[in-house]
Every structure is written in C-alpha cells, then in structure tokens.
Symmetry: C2
C-alpha cells in the first residue's frame, strides 16, 4: 500500500483538523472521513458514497470477526438475490407498512420494458429468506436452522444522510434463523446479543446497552425488538445491531412449518439479527478518534505497524534493516507498512497517526548502532526504546495494551454518560449530553403518550429497558406521575 503523497499535505507545523473533537464533533467527523480517505462523498447519486481502501480493509476485518462468531454459533452462509418481488413484501402487513416508504423499486429493463411486477432492491431480506425456509424446512430434525448472509442493503432514507452512519446503501450481515419453539428462539436472540458483546464491545471497543424496545418502536413484523444503543460524542445514541423475536408472524404467511415428533404440523419461530458493519465503523471512528485523527483497536486496523526509517537516504543500512524488520513482522502475521517515501519523518509521523496505525517503529543510524528500536504508541503518544531482540514480544504486548486502553477509556466515558434523573425537567438537562435513566409508566402501548410528550418537547426518545439486568422502578413515572412499571433510558437519537 502506497500512501498517496498528494492526498494529505500534513506537517508538524499546523493543526491537522480545524475542528476539535470535543468542541465540534460534527465537523471533526466530516474532516477525518475526508482526510483519512475513508469514504468519498462526491459520487453523483444522493446518499451514496464510495468506500476507499482504508475503509474497505477495515470493514473486511470487521466482517471477519462477525462471520467467525456466527459460524461458531452454527450459522451457515448464504447469498440471496438483491431483488425481491413486491408480492413477497405484501404477505406480512406491518412489514410492508414499515419498509414501503424506504424501498428502491426496479420497474423496468433495457429500453424501458416494464416488469409485470415491481422488484424491491432489498432493504432487508426476511421476505426473501422465509419463502425458501418454507421449502427447506420440513421436519423437527431440520431445526434449528441458522443462516446468514453478507450483503448490501438499500433504503431510501428521507432524513439527512451522513457517511457510514446513515446512507441509502449500507453494508451489513443479516442472520435469519428458525426454531421449533419460542424458548429456543429466545435463546438465539440472547446469543445474538452475546455476539454483539464479544465482537463489537470486546474486540472493537465500542460500549453499548441492549434495550428491549417499547412496543411502539418494534421492527415491522416483530413480537419484540432488542436494540444495541451505542453513544456518539455528541451525546446522542446510535442504534447498532438489533435482534428480533419474530415469533410466528412471518412463518404463518410464508408457511414455514415443520412436522414435530408427534407428527403434527407446527409453525416455526423465527428470529433475525442485523449488524450494519458500515455503521459500526462509524461508531469505531467516533468512539476512539482524537484530535490527531483515527485511533483503531489493533485487531481491525488495516496496518498495525508502520516502520519509519530515519536518515535512510544517507545510510543505506537503515533501509535494509527496515526491510528486514518488515519481513520478520509480516511473516509473524502482523500487517506492516514501511514508509520509505521522500516525505520528512515528521510528516510521516503525522500522516500515519492520522490514519490510526497503533504502533510506529522509528529506526535511524543511532538505533542501528545500538541494536535498539523506538516504539511509539498511537493511543497514548508514549515512546519506548527497546532491544531489537524483544520486538515480537513487545508488539504483541502493545497490541493488546492499546486495544484494552481504547476499550477501557470508552467504557469509562460511556458509563459516566448515563445519569439518573428523578423529574421531567432533569431529562432535558441530560439528553443531548448523555442518557437519562428514570422511572417510567409502561413500555406497553399505554406508555406511548408519555413517550410522545418527550419526543415532541425534548426531541428525545425512550430507548426501552435493559435486557442484561432487571431493574426495578421505585416511584412514579417522570412524565405522567402514575406508578412506574419500568426503569427506562431516554436519549436523543442520531
């Protein structure tokens, strides 16, 4: 990979970004997306962007962790068509109602020949998968039946789009599974939550809470929806992977049935789960980035180490040594860049820090003479001089330490952003900075009017109740002051 010398004219004498992350997150985000060459917004279809190599390579690594986890949970990979006939959608009424406004429709081909029936560019694939489930699943012996696909989806978003966070085309995985009963389906929903925890939190370092959504805020066609809310530095939540108990809502219209042990025909219980990889990348950038640019956990960065040779133009042994180190580190399995371009070392330092490369190795004539190397940590800006013989051990140690430090910092910030409130007025003080936690009347439909008041007056939404622990309310609803049945979390949504 060759750094484009023209793309970012960084040098140590000026600020990299005009916007500070803490002061102006919106402009900071726009600048880092552009400066690090993650996505290019100049494509000429509104809401569509071009993913550039640094983003594509990161997304591929992120996909890898999710796919590995799903395969360990015995999910099998499929590729389904991108086009779904309109009639499939119409089979489940709340599903079509929910998605119809967002669908891109293919209506013709060639020189304007119309199709008999409109074809949806998939906004999600329940109605594609389940017609095939009805052919594949016959007997209780076929269950559980666990599938996923890696795919793009298209949704005609009418609110303002934002690169990676909300686009009209995004990259995701969607898992669709069938079970013989409600309990085993629910266990799978819990498994989806564990996948999110193991991958998005433990590996990518993005903290979140899984909320059971209020009944008025479910996935169209679901019995219950569980959404992972992460937080942006703007104090707004962003919905990350959601997992849904579809019950038999889809299996009835699509006839996903099986013969049980007693010989009776039954409808299967279906679940679905959809990690949007491109949006998760947005959370990675927003959570870990700083005023120097990107910071990445060691596991998902396209280049883990950059070697910067110093004064190698005057001393050819320096470049030779740098190449030798690159070869040793690459064959150990690390992703390594050697920057022997003609830029000044300071420029290189700033460039690769901006790109989020976790470790830099500096190597000049002085290091060569003493068999030493200087290692620089992107996350803390610490430098340490090591003996060359310790290199692999130190890299392994630092890689783990950097990922842990990013995750720990994010966890601390996230947990400090959750504030208990005991009155309606206090909600207004919290939302927009963090997440308000409070007593609330009900998450069934009788609580909807209180949620609507919050939405209308405070531009915030009731995210639901925690699913990882049971929280008991001890008082009255902060809105209507009726006895509270739930402890809920309220936040502005990105």
């Amino acid at each position: 990979m060759v750094a484009n010398e023209n793309s970012a004219s960084l040098n140590s004498d000026k600020e990299i970004f005009s916007a500070k992350k803490e002061e102006d997150i919106s402009n900071w985000y726009s600048e880092i997306i552009k400066t690090a060459e993650l996505v290019d917004l100049r494509y000429n279809v509104k809401g569509f962007v071009v993913y550039q190599p640094w983003a594509v390579r990161t997304l591929e690594l992120m996909y890898g962790f999710f796919e590995k986890n799903l395969q360990e949970r015995e999910h099998e990979p499929y590729f389904f068509p991108a086009l779904i006939p309109e009639k499939n959608f119409n089979l489940e009424s709340s599903h079509i109602e929910g998605f119809a406004p967002e669908v891109f429709w293919v209506t013709e081909h060639g020189a304007g020949e119309k199709f008999d029936e409109k074809l949806a560019l998939r906004p999600t694939s329940e109605t594609a998968f389940y017609q095939m489930f009805s052919l594949w699943i016959r007997s209780y012996q076929d269950l559980p039946f666990r599938t996923y696909q890696r795919a793009q989806v298209w949704r005609y978003e009418t609110s303002a789009t934002r690169p990676l966070l909300r686009s009209r085309e995004f990259f995701w995985l969607e898992s669709h599974c069938a079970f013989p009963d409600k309990e085993s389906a629910f266990q799978n929903v819990l498994g989806d939550m564990k996948t999110t925890e193991s991958v998005m939190h433990q590996i990518f370092g993005v903290p979140f809470i899984y909320f059971q959504r209020p009944q008025w805020d479910k996935f169209p066609g679901a019995d219950n929806t569980f959404g992972a809310d992460a937080l942006t530095p703007s104090g707004r939540v962003v919905q990350q992977p959601s997992t849904h108990m579809l019950g038999t809502n889809f299996s009835k219209p699509f006839n996903v049935s099986f013969v049980d042990k007693e010989g009776n025909s039954q409808f299967a219980y279906l679940t679905c789960y959809g990690p949007a990889i491109s949006r998760i990348l947005a959370s990675v950038i927003l959570t870990h980035g700083d005023d120097k640019g990107l910071r990445f956990p060691f596991e998902i960065v396209p280049k883990q180490i950059v070697i910067v040779p110093i004064a190698f133009e005057k001393n050819s042994l320096v470049l030779e040594k740098a190449k030798e180190l690159k070869s040793i580190l690459s064959s150990t399995g690390f992703r390594v860049e050697l920057d022997s371009s003609s830029k000044r070392p300071g420029e290189k330092f700033y460039f690769w820090e901006m790109k989020g490369v976790p470790i830099r190795i500096e190597l000049g004539p002085k290091e060569l003479d003493s068999n030493k190397l200087v290692l620089f940590r992107r996350d803390t800006s610490e430098k340490v001089s090591i003996n060359e013989s310790e290199l692999i051990d130190k890299i392994n140690f630092l890689g783990k330490a950097i990922s842990k430090n990013l995750k720990d910092s994010a966890d601390e910030w996230f947990s400090n952003s959750i504030i208990d409130v005991s009155s309606y007025d206090e909600i207004a003080d919290v939302v927009g900075k963090g997440i308000a936690r409070c007593n609330f009347c009900s998450l069934e439909l009788d609580g909807e009017s209180c949620a609507e008041k919050i939405e209308k007056e405070l531009f915030a939404t009731v995210r639901g109740k925690r699913i990882d622990k049971q929280e008991k309310p001890n008082g009255v609803c902060v809105v209507c002051e009726k006895p509270a049945k739930e402890v809920v979390y309220i936040a502005k949504q990105y």
Copy 2:
C-alpha cells in the same frame, strides 16, 4: 457444519445421478447443482438463484485467491455504489449501446415516487469508477492507479439462464486501472492474464486460452478485448475473465487526465478486468466433476478432509480418537469435517464423495488397535493405509497430488480438444466437440463476413487469435480462400 440428513438420501445400492457426465452433461450438471446443494433455483425472480453454504464457502475461498493476487499487484480495494445514473452511461456511446439492453433500471422509490433520472443497477462499473478517477488523478505521480472491487452485477440476459454459468445476477471482481501511456496499460493487461493463469489455471485447475477478440467482438468501449476461453465437457467454450484495453475512450468523456512531467495535460490510458467468480465455479464443477459428483482442488474446497468413524457406536474410543484427529488437523490449518451422524458408513462415503471432499479418513476399532489410518483419495478412489504418525505429512502430500492430478487431467483433455482443420467442412466436424484451429483471412472488420457465415451456418464463433504465442498462418482462409493473415480458433459458445 452439519450435513442435512434429509437432503440427499444416498446409499451405496443405487446410482447417485441418473445422468452420466460423458453422456448427458446438461442433466448431469443440473443434478449435481441440486444434489450437492450448491444453488437453489426455486427463488421467485426469473434468472436469480439462492447460493447455498457449500457454494458460498467455495466462492469465498476463490475470491480470496484472486484478491490476494490483485493486492500483490498493488491493486487497492474499493466499494462502489450499486446504482449508476443513466447520464454516466450516456457519456460513452458504444458502452451504452452495448449494455443498455441488459440494464435493470431503478425508476422509483417508496409509494411510486419517480426519480428525476433513472438509475442503473450496475451491469459493470466503468462509468462509476471513471468519474471518481477524474477527481482522484491529478498528476503523473498519481499513476499508475490500480483499483478493484468485489461486487455483484446484474444483467438482464435474454438468452436462457443456467445456474452459475449465466444468471441475471452474478458475483465478480472488477478491476479498473489508469496509466500514463499505452505501453504501461498493455503491461497491466498482460498482468491480468498472468493473474488468470496463476489463479484459475494453477490453483483451480481450469485450463484456458487467452484470445485477442476480433474487432467485431470487443467489449463495448474497448480498443481491444482479450478473453480467456475455457471449455465445457459439451465441447463448447465459455468465456472466463476478460481484460480490456480501453485506451482513452473513457478517459476523454470522463476527463481522466493528468499533468505529465513536462507540465502538459494528458488523458490517462485505462484498463479493466472482470473475473466472474460464480461462472468460474461453474467451470470448476464442469471440468473436474465425475459420475460420483463434485471433485475439487484441495485449495478451494470448503472441507478438505472428512473423518468417518466406523462402528463408533459400539466403541467409544473410536469417536474419541476421531475427535482428537479432527482437533489436530484443524489446528494445523486444515478444514475438517467429522461425520458422526447416525447414517451408515457407506452412505457417508457416498455423500462426502458427492460433495467433492478430496480426502476421507476411515477409522475403526481395527485401525485404533494398530495405530493405523485408512486414507481415501476422492480423485482416484485409491485407498492407502498409513501410520498415524505420518498423518500430517501424508495429508500435505495428498492435497498437492490431488490438485495436480485434477489439473493435469484437465490440461490433457483440453489440449486434445484443440484440432487443426484445413477446410471449411472440417470445422463443422470439430465444433460442438472441441475447438477448431485454422487459417483465417482477418480479425479486422474486413474478416467479419467470414465470421458471420460460420456463425449462421455452423452456430460457431471465431474466438480470435492466441495472445500467449504468435502463430503464423500458412495458406488461405478456410472460408473465403483469400490469403490468411491470422491463425484463429473457432468454437461453439456456451
């Protein structure tokens, strides 16, 4: 991965397929696609299929080899939008003429709201990439500029579709590159051919010849097209990766220009290359399969080894040993299946042979007592008894030997299928069985009438002249009997 016990009720008492490969390749292919659960044709949009796990896993491995090779050739990965505005297509007139009949058009969204301009579901992405090239490329220092994306494309094929071979949706890689001059662009085209040789032939074992296509059979918008023709057992050729010299045909309308060392503005020379992974899988199946089912090279098969424990229900040590072997082989890096289902061993043998697993390990009480193992080779049906201590070495040896044997057999069959002919009548005897090689007047436009005669009377096409070696004609054109300028190859096309 759990074999679906209901999906294929194979047993040793009956033929697996009703059609023999040598006698009825068309039905053999249909049966193997279905029995091995590669793709399901029952999806309810014409020309679209569902890719099942065994095919998806194979495609992923195949993608991996192509991507690794392209990255070694300094191609950087991008993801471009699936939608391309109609106006982009209109900029290059022969390109829109060539592709317009095949385009799926997105014309509306939501409840029938029309777009101002139709959007093409990409049939290929020249007109998406090159508008961005014009923004990214400024100076000679930006060149060469090498990109690729992994993507699906959609083409409204009007001829009969055939799973994997010709579908309205297929999986491919498309590479787009820019160069400062014609010579370096042509070197890249040669590099694309080497990639095809290194991956499709050397690793996947699919032989082919690269032909420079006649001027009347170029990619729409190209100066020259080079197509890799593989052969199907039906004696027809199938076009595999083609690579194109686009010259400045696209860089002019899309303004892909750069400032050269002398400060002058010049148009870049563009090339593109498109390996259709799903169609290459069709060639892998057709080339290597036999009457027992699939045969795969060791490198691209989802499971390389299946362990079948014998009489393990009576002897728990057998199953323990089988698990231990699986663990050893997996941690060595092999893809291993342990089939401890309740099927009879004979059924398991037939099932995994049908799926194309290259090596089977049989392990029963007898082997346990003697520390021996029985290894079975799928390609030759040979069995060999080995000491357990030799296992890893033997697997490594057999893996290579199986891939080599499949490739060598394919090469021999392919080269025997090319027949020299010296008269027009002889062409008819060869095409439909193999590829006819003969003298031909011209591959410029003045040769088109001879090619049309062949197409009309013999239903065969002039594929072009070899690019890997120069062949000198020694006589007259087999059609018009004018002095021959070329040695060409003629075949029926799939």
